[in-house]
Each structure stands twice: as C-alpha cells, then as structure tokens.
C-alpha cells in the first residue's frame, strides 16, 4: 500500500488551530502566574490568525484532500470566518463574567479552541466520519464547559443531562450513518449522492438511516422533539458558556445539515424536506408558545432559539419543489442568512445578560431588566434593538431574515406554512416586547450602575448597531450568503 502525502494546504487553518491548542496547553502549564491572561490572548490571537489563514487559502475552488475526507469550499470558508468571529466575541463578552466567578482558568480557553476546531472540522467535512469526529470534538468540549462551574449543582446537572442526551443523539446519528453506508456503500457525501443517483441504493435502508441521522441533526440544532436539553442547559450553564452554545455551534449545525442533506442526500430531498417540515412546525409552535411562560430570560431565549432554528429549517425545506431545483439557491441562502442573523442576535442578547450580571449576581430573570432605561438608556436601546430584531420588527436584521425565509417558503408553494410561521412569530412578539416593556416602563429593582470593561461595552454597542444597520442595508450580507453557496451547489 502506497502512502500518499496528503495536500495540507486546504486544511492550513485547521492545522494551525490544532497546533495552537497544543501550544496554549503547554504555555499555560509553564507560565503559571500569567497563565489565564496568556491563554486568553493567545486564543484570541489564534482566532484572528486563523481568519487570516482562511482568507489567504480561500480561492473559490472546491478542494478535496485527505483522501477526499476533507473539503475546502466557499461555504465552508465563509462559515468558518463567521465561527471565528462569533467565538471571539463570545470570549470577549464572557471573560469578565468568568473572572468574577473565578472560572477563568486556562482550560476554559483551551476547550474553546478545541470546540472551534471541532466546528471547523464539521464545516469542512466531506465524509460521514469526519463529520462525526468534528461533531464529537465540539460536543465533548461543550459538555466540559457546561460543567465548568464545578461547585454549582445546577451546572453539573445541566452538563450531565447534556452529556447523556448528547450521547443518545450521537448513538442515533452513528446508527443512521451506518445505515447510509450500508445502503449506498460509501461514506463520502459525493459517493452517497452518486449511489442514490444511480439507484444502486436500497431505498428502505436509506430512509431508515435518514430518520436516524435526522434525529442526531435535530438534537444538535435543538429542534422539537429533540429540544428537551436546550432550556435546561441554557439555564444551567454559566452564562458565558450559554453564550458559546447559543452562537457558533448553530452555524456548525447548519453546515452539518447542508453537508449531510444537500451534498449527500439531495436526491431524496422530498423525504428529508417533509421530515424537516415536521420538525420545523413543532419547533416554531412550541418554541414561541413555551417562551411566553418563562420568567427566566435565559430559558426564554432558549425557547426563542428553538423557534429560530425552526425558521432555519423552513429555509432548508423549501429548496426542491416537485423535483424542481431552481429555488434551491434562494432557499438555502435564506436559511444561511437566518442562521447568521440569529447568531448575531443571540450573541448580543446573552451579551446583555452578562453585562448586567456582576460578581455574586446573575441577571437572569426578566425582572432584572426592569427599568434598564433609567440605569443606562444606551444599553436599554441596544436591548430594544435586539428584541425588536428577534421579534422580526422592520427594519432590523431579524425582519429581513424572516422575510427571506418566508419568501422561499412561499416560492415553494407552502402558503399555509408561511401563514403559520407568521402567526407564531406574532405570538412570539409578545415575549420579546415584554422585555422592552419592563425596560422602559417599570421601575428598576436594582439601581446599581452598570460596570463592565470598556471593550465589552464597545463590542456590545457595535453588535447592537450592526443588527440595526444590517437591517437597513441587508443586501450585502444576503448576496454574500448566496455567493458562498452558489459555488458549491
């Protein structure tokens, strides 16, 4: 057997991040006194350099390497860049929070970096096994991060639930993958697609596998009925970690859906589209309604996240209509736009919770936002922008995200689905607007001034304003999403 040296060039960013993870591990062992700060800055630097490397190695071509297990294309590069950004922002928001609770140990940053690496591998996978490895790498890091506050019973419980349910989902996913392999004889996405195209696949086994794979995917996206972990974990995890879970991994999960469903199983789109419809409808209905009953804002945002992921699925399920694939690009890019918009809003909203929290105090109840306008009218305005955008009020980015997804749904002919989604968004507007109401019309219960490092305040303002500005000028980001997909569709 000949050993061919693989082409490392397309995977330069992944290799760099992996090496840096090792460097940080060693460095923080030896530089004990400044270990935490060192790890933080090295991690941030790694993310920046990784972005530079990704841009430098991006050339618009689809490049395969490592025996076709790894693919480098525009969609992957674009999503990876977004992942670096969102991880970096999440670290920036969370740093003070961790320090206040003496959780800012170097391991945290190391885990963050490994999680990032896992997501990168997921995004660039061209093979069921690569996808699985990336997924597990990300998940294991996240399990550990949720349990990072070892003294907190709630954290530990959340981590335990997350881990057990995650293991179950992993099992389902692996089982489904083995079915797919059994049915098509290939683990490469393009190989699977070809086998189905040539009708050499056993369709019963294929659909059987699809259902299991879908269950694993749904768990990662956190959609109903595989969502049960979401509220408990969001609430139980330290807010800095919740912020991490609620942002970049959603992009990775979107990439996973694209790779698995669109690149691998496009030929049986009719099947998975109807499954997605089942999941999407349940998620949008349950997410929006259950959020109303919440008093804890982290839990409320968890349910809102479930509903938002339902919207992403709406985009994904509108690609193929009666075998006609003309709508595919629009539909998938609308889903991608939605995912990106959601990540921006999610970062900002959890960032606000962190901003209001301080040592010994968690601002995790909606009541903690009472009278925010009197304490800081600027950040009340930012929260207003975030909530309006999440509710889908024009003209914020959330509105255009919803609009483009709904356009795709209507173009695909599912009018009833669009109507349902709009009605549910309307119901959902209630709990977003409730936050605005308590901020502006209720008297503050807590009059402590807001203390936060300047970088967090600036970043949060930039984040909030970006939601508003991109709502006014959404076309650039929309075209970017379409451009990232068109090359690889």
């Amino acid at each position: 057997m000949n050993f061919v040296v693989p082409d490392f060039y397309p995977a330069a960013a992944e290799i760099f991040v992996a090496v840096m993870a090792l460097v940080i591990m060693l460095a923080s062992t030896f530089a004990r006194r400044i270990a935490t700060a060192l790890a933080y800055y090295l991690t941030q630097a790694t993310l920046i350099v990784a972005a530079v490397v990704t841009v430098a190695t991006m050339d618009g071509q689809v490049m395969l390497t490592f025996s076709n297990m790894f693919v480098s294309d525009l969609m992957g590069d674009f999503l990876k860049l977004l992942i670096y950004f969102s991880v970096a922002i999440a670290l920036l928001y969370g740093r003070g929070y961790l320090a206040d609770r003496s959780m800012d140990r170097p391991e945290y940053y190391l885990l963050t970096l490994l999680m990032t690496l896992g997501m990168m591998v997921m995004v660039t996978s061209n093979h069921l096994l690569t996808l699985y490895i990336g997924l597990e790498m990300m998940s294991l890091s996240l399990y550990a991060m949720v349990a990072f506050d070892r003294e907190s019973a709630r954290s530990t419980e959340a981590a335990m639930k997350y881990f057990v349910l995650g293991a179950l989902a992993s099992g389902l996913l692996l089982y489904g993958m083995s079915m797919l392999y059994g049915a098509t004889g290939s683990m490469e996405f393009s190989g699977i697609a070809q086998a189905i195209y040539h009708q050499s696949a056993n369709s019963t086994v294929l659909v059987f596998g699809l259902v299991f794979v879908m269950a694993g995917l749904a768990f990662k996206l956190g959609v109903v009925p595989f969502h049960m972990w979401v509220p408990d974990v969001y609430q139980g995890a330290p807010t800095a970690v919740t912020l991490m879970i609620a942002s970049a991994p959603k992009l990775a999960a979107f990439a996973m859906a694209m790779r698995l469903l669109v690149y691998g199983l496009f030929e049986i789109a009719e099947h998975w589209q109807s499954m997605l419809m089942f999941l999407a409808v349940l998620s949008i209905v349950l997410g929006n309604i259950a959020a109303i009953a919440q008093t804890n804002i982290k839990r409320m945002l968890a349910y809102s996240g479930i509903a938002h992921m339902g919207f992403v699925l709406l985009g994904l399920l509108s690609g193929v209509v009666d075998g006609d694939r003309h709508f595919a690009l629009n539909a998938y890019s609308s889903a991608m736009f939605y995912a990106v918009a959601y990540v921006m809003m999610s970062l900002a909203s959890f960032g606000m919770i962190i901003l209001l929290s301080r040592a010994g105090f968690e601002a995790e109840n909606i009541d903690d936002f009472k009278g925010l306008n009197q304490r800081s009218s600027w950040f009340a305005l930012m929260m207003l922008i975030i909530m309006f955008s999440m509710a889908g009020v024009p003209f914020f980015i959330g509105f255009f995200a919803k609009l483009s997804v709904l356009q795709a749904v209507v173009a695909a002919g599912y009018i009833w689905l669009a109507v349902l989604a709009v009605v549910m968004s309307l119901i959902g507007a209630f709990y977003y607007l409730r936050v605005v109401k308590v901020m502006y019309f209720d008297a503050p219960e807590d009059s402590a001034p807001i203390h936060a490092p300047a970088d967090v305040k600036v970043m949060l303002s930039v984040n909030g304003l970006a939601i508003a500005v991109l709502g006014l000028l959404p076309q650039g980001l929309m075209s970017l999403c379409a451009y990232a997909l068109i090359a690889s569709l």
């Binding site: 389902l172 659909v207 049960m228 349950l286 009953a293």
Partner: protein, 670 residues
Amino acid sequence: MDMKALYLLVPLAPLAGAILAGLFGKAIGRAGAHVATIAGVAIAFIASLVIFFDVQAGNSFDGTIYTWMEAGGIHFEIGFLIDPLTVMMMLVVTFVSLMVHIYTIGYMQDDPGYQRFFSYISLFTFSMLMLVMSNNFLQLFFGWEAVGLVSYLLIGFWHDRPTAIYANMKAFLVNRVGDFGFLLGIGLVAAYTGTLHYGEVFAVASELVGVEMAVTGWNLITAICVLLFIGAMGKSAQVPLHVWLPDSMEGPTPISALIHAATMVTAGIFMVARMSPLFELSDAALSFVLVIGATTALFMGFLGIVQNDIKRVVAYSTLSQLGYMTVALGVSAYSAGVFHLMTHAFFKALLFLGAGSVIIGMHHDQDMRNMGGLRKYMPITWITSLLGSLALIGFPFFSGFYSKDSIIEAVFAAELWGAGYAMVCVLLGVFVTAFYSFRMYFLVFHGEERFGKAHHGHDAHHDDAHHDDDHHHGLAPGQKPHESPWVVTVPLILLAIPSVLVGFFTIEPMLFGEFFGSAIHVADNHVGLSKLAADFTGPVGMAIHGLQTAPFWLAAAGVGTAWFFYMKRPDIPAAIQRRFSAIHTLLENKYYFDRFNEIVFAGGSRALGTGFWKIGDRGVIDGLIVNGSARVVGWVAQLSRLFQSGHLYQYAFAMIIGLFIMLSFWFNLG
C-alpha cells in the same frame, strides 16, 4: 471631480449639519449649530451650482446609488435622476434654504430651542433634496414623508402652545389623506408596470392607455394620475385638502417661508411635472387637476382679504398661487407651472421673511391693525416687501409677471374640459391677489401709526395667554419699531434680487427654449405653451404687451381699490362688511371647511371608531380572539412545562418517541 460624489454631497452635507446640530447641539453650542448647518447648506448650494453648469453643458444622470433590497422582482433603490428639472429645484431649495438659515440667526436668537430649530431646517433641506433628486417612486415617497415629518415637527416647534399642537396634528392628519392617495397611486404603478423606476415606468406608460382596472373597470392611467394628484393636493394644499396650511403659520416664520411657501408645498407641483409623461395620457385627470387648481386659485384668494394676521394673509396668497401652478399643470403647461414655482419661491420667501422682519420690529405682534406707517422705521423691509408684492401681483418686468402671465395665456389657449371655468378663476384671481397684497402693504407700511396703542385682540388662535415669556407681544405705548439686524435684512435683499430679475432672464430658456429638454413631456394633442411660444417676442416685448392686457389692468384695479379702501376711505370696507355680513361671515369661517371636517370627518370617524371598538374590539377580538387565543397559548405553555419536567429519563423518552413517530410516519409514506 466625480459627479456622482458631488450628487451625493448635495443631500448629505445638510444631513451632516442636521446631525451635528441635533445630536451634539449642547456640545457645539448655539454658534456651532448655526455655523455647522449653514456650512452644510452652503456646500449643498455650491455643489448644486456646479451641477447646474454641468447639466447646462448637456450632461445628465440617471442611476442607482444603492440597492436597498429586492423583493418580488421589484428593486428598492436609492438613486438620483439629475436633469434640468431636478437641478432647477435643487438650486431653488438650497438657495432659499440658505437664506432662511441665515435669517434664522436673527429671528430665533432668543429662543431656547435654537439648535433644535437649525437641526430641523437642515434635516428638511436634506429630505427635500432627496425628494427632488430621486429617480424612483420609493425614494420620492421617502422624501415626501420626510418633509412631511419635519413640517409636522416645525409647525409644533413651540410645543407648549396648544394651538401649535393642534395645527401640527391637523397638518399631519390632512396630509395622511393625501398620502393615502399617493401611496395607492404608487402601488398601482408598481402593480401594473412591475417597477418603481421613473424611466422604466415612463417607457411602458403608453401601454397602460386604455387598460381597465380589475373589478372596478376604471381607466387605469386616469386612476393612477388622480391618485398621485391627491397626494399632491395634500402636500401642495389644494382644495379641499388645503385646511392645514393656514394653521401651519403657528410655526416660526422662517419655516413658513422655507417650508410652507417656497419649497415643501411645491413638492406636489414638482411631482406632477415630473410625472408629466403619465398625466399627458389622461385628459380626464388633467381636467381634474385644472378644476381643483382654479378653484384653489380664486377662492383661497378671497380668504386673504378678510385676514388681519400678517402671516395668514401671506399664507392665503400662497394657497392661491399654488392654485395657479396647479392650473398650469392642468393645461399641460408644466414648464410654466414649474417656472411659477421658481419665481414664487423667491418672492414668497421674501414676503414671508419680510413679514417676519415686521413681526420682529413689532415685538411679535402679528396683527396688521396694530401696524401702519412702518415705512419710516424699517426702510429695508419696506422696500423689499414692496418689490415682493409687485412680483406677486404680476407687475410687468417683475419675475411674477412672466410666470403668472404665461399661465394665464396658457389657460386662454387650452381646449381642455374646464378651461373656461379656469379662465374666469385665474383672471378674477389677479384682481383679488393685487387687492389683498396691497391691502396688507398699505396697512403695514403706510398710513396712520397705530402701534403702541391699545391692542386689537388677536384671533382666537393667537390668544396671548398661552405664549411663553420669551415672546412678549406687541410694542409698549410710546415704543417705536426698529429695523431688524443685518442677518435678517441681508437675506431680504438677496431674495429681492431674484424676485425682481429672475423671470426676465429665465423665461426664454425655461418656457420656450430647450432648458427642460426631455424632462417634461407634452403630448402632441395638448396645446400647452406652443401657442404662446409662437407669439413670444422676448421678455421686453412680453412686458410691454402685458401693459395692454386684461391681467395688468385687473391688477392695477386691485391695487387702486386697496389704496382707495384702506388709505383714502377706511370707512368703506367697514360699510361693506356690514352690508354683506353673510359673505363676510362665510369668508371669516373659511367657507366652513374646518367646521365641516370637524363634524363630518372627525366626528364621523370617532363614531365609527367607537362602533368598531364596542362591537369588533370588545366583542369579537377581546372576547373571542384575544382571550380565547391567550387561553390556548396558556394551555399549551402549561402542557410544555409539564413535559419539561427536568427528569432526564423523560427527555430521553421524548426523543425516542419523536424518533418512532418519524420512523413510522415515513415508512408508511415510503
């Protein structure tokens, strides 16, 4: 220099000024605010001048600056259309705005809202420029609404006066009526042509002729034009949507000059001229325009006769002049309408600023019955106001003569339905205009000095009781009026120059030359100005000819009557008032439009609202939908809480159940 950057600079410079003065007004102080905004508008004016010469050299531009979004095949864009019509409007807007900015330094010097005021007028300039420079309906509508918003803010500038709040609410509501029509018109255009871009709409406009609308069977192009014109009626204060303009005089005087005389109210005229390729296709719509315009021109003029508030006289004269412009549009003499728009902008801004100067001199007393003989004390204001009045009544060689006479001649030549009625209205209007203008002039500047004596009470709207202390009213006994500071008089002089001269120099290129080129379209079957062009012998010839025509003698008669009534025999008007008290009451009450609106529309909609509230809102919506759906929502939420028990095994169980549902369902399917 890149022209595109220059185009962008024109609206953005005032916007930057507005932002600086508005958001950082405290930091940059009063002087900072006026320096910033005046610099912004001055830059816009200079850039407009450069663009003007560029357009004169034969260049034009029609392009997109930014695509906001695309939905359903329609592009929503920001774009500029730079052609002679646009550039003329840009010059007028920036020039008058610049004058008003400078004037404001003097007029508002004691006002606590100084920075806010400058911010608003710069914001207005930005909005107006966006409106006129637009190349598509969306941006037109944006500018349209933005100028309306600023107008609303400025009418209510002194927001502690209940009358100002009433007036701005009224302006806002009446404009909603117009805008509703406007929006429907734009919607029809978009629905039937699939685009919002002017050029593309005009290119396919001829295909819309004869198309009937679904369901109603109306003629499409007529419906579009009438609806668009309803928008113009709101903004340009045409009967019956004129009721807001006189009340808008509650705002500070510079605003009356800039927004409610020179620029914003002419937006409707500009819009119709811009849409000339559409209006030319529908004679019915043109007749509608003509009749509305003629009615406004004459009947609003009558109201000017009975007003005693100096600003209200000018306001009614604005209404009447807007009617003239509309008449010009109706008879397809678009360029004459726009020409009158331009000359009117200068002399009406001048008259308003002159009135403002008088008001400063009179210590914020606006009642003409308390004035008289001001000529001695305010010589510059006197001369410039005289020039403005002469321009307004259309005295030969003055700018107003050229524009107004062209309109009247065009009405003579017109063959449209309603042209006969319009002819009577515009001719009588000349007499009326001359009469009330010189009534005001004589009452203010000549005759007995009536100030410093016991006050005539103001109208109900101007009751002193609720004015704040900064605006002390009227001169104390023995006190004399004084000429205003230079920041007030310099704009007067600078506006007086074009008021006198601009018509003489521009009539030939604008009306009969190639100035507008393809910007204005007149169909072959409409007379427009063609008959006039055939007789035109040059501005001097026209003025000399004008001395022999009916309008001149009517105007002279108006001036003479005013002189006789108010200088010679002041007892006559009082006698007439007694003899014809019914007519006088009718005019005093402005034909009862306000009462009618209040009872029928305001009262009617309140009754309708109450009805809906009782039956629809409380019965159906609250009872059934809101509480009913809230119960359902609450129930589902409780149910989900039940499942979300916190027990791990239940979560896992839910996942497995979900998996089984999916499995069984898709296997039955497959």
